[in-house]
């Protein structure tokens, strides 16, 4: 998830070059928004977290440490903001996620696919927050173990344990059976 041109773009973005700012936003906002949305299961809150994350990034750019990984830093800020919001929630509510279905399917197939996706997303967001974060980062966002562990500020062994527990929980929910036509 790291890009060799990050430092160059960070330097140019810090100087206010609009193209570099736009490039950083285009490259990293989908990941940050995706992580936030799956952690919070709330579109508006996920957008707020994404905006707050980028605001913090813009403030940090002038003093950016060249060895730091921008992607890791950005996702860590977003994840911590998500944790803060989840802690503030007294009750976890599953907000409606945007309907994202394949338009080429027949209406009944579309409905089935939509329900299946909704079931998967609900099952992920019902996981304990650290398990959900590990699964989102590795299995969905595609971060490697090292990056995901750094984002979560845990060891790779701890990350592996969280992933294994998350996957075991999801298997128990019958998610894999549902896909087979249940």
């Amino acid at each position: 998830m790291a890009f060799s041109s990050d430092l160059d773009q960070i330097t140019r973005a810090a100087a206010g070059e609009r193209g570099a700012v736009a490039a950083l936003v285009a490259r990293y906002s989908p990941g940050v928004l995706g992580l936030s949305q799956r952690m919070l299961a709330d579109n508006a809150e996920a957008e707020d977290v994404t905006q707050e994350t980028f605001l913090r990034a813009w403030k940090a750019l002038p003093n950016w440490e060249p060895r730091a990984n921008f992607s890791t830093w950005l996702h860590r800020v977003a994840l911590n903001l998500c944790y803060d919001r989840l802690r503030k929630r007294r009750e976890t509510t599953m907000a409606e996620l945007p309907e994202q279905v394949d338009r080429d399917l027949r209406p009944d197939e579309r409905l089935e696919q939509s329900q299946r996706i909704s079931a998967i997303e609900s099952a992920i967001s019902a996981l304990p927050e650290r398990q959900a974060a590990a699964l989102n980062l590795c299995a969905i966002e595609g971060h490697n173990q090292k990056d995901a562990a750094e984002i979560m500020e845990i060891s790779q062994e701890a990350l592996e344990s969280l992933l294994a527990r998350a996957r075991r929980t999801l298997r128990k929910t019958g998610l894999t059976g549902a896909r087979q036509g249940q």
Binding site: A13, A14, A15, G16, E17, R18, V21, A22, L24, V25, A26, S29, P30, L33, G34, Q37, R38, E47, T50, Q51, F54, L55, W58, L61, P62, Q100, Q113, R116, I117, I120, E121, I124, L135, C138, A139, I140, N144, Q145, Q156, E160, S161, L163, A164, R167, R168, L170, R171, L175, T176, A178, R179, Q180
Partner: protein, 153 residues
Amino acid sequence: MSDMNVQRVLDLIDAYGADMNAFPEDERDAARALVEGSPALFAEALDAARLLDAALLQVPEITPSDDLMARLIASGPKPQAERINILGRLRDILLPQGSRWPMAAGLASLAIGALVGLNLPNVGTDGYDSTQGDVIYAALGLTEYTYDDEVFQ
């Protein structure tokens, strides 16, 4: 990795799923060799993992809306020239005639104040004469001269 064994491969499948490309890089090749050498040992674990992998693959990618992207870009750092422009515009609003007249007015005020001050008699507001030195020394407690002394002179 030399200590790769059946249990470790099962643990890796448990954590990372059936796609061995998702395994940690330093263990990937050894795990793959073990699986290819004894596929029956791992078939059940791999099948279960594949079902979950397939379910997770259906989770759609989330794309930021154009509006959100525009807001993120707009909140980004501004070029130096633009920042100076913003300050310039603010100055134009506050000082529409430019900064020359307010500076001249300030200097004129200072000059008038100094002129008036130098020409005033050295008399307190109570109407009694007092030297500046007396008052300062008294205020500092350096003499026995007090305000009462001056009032009841």
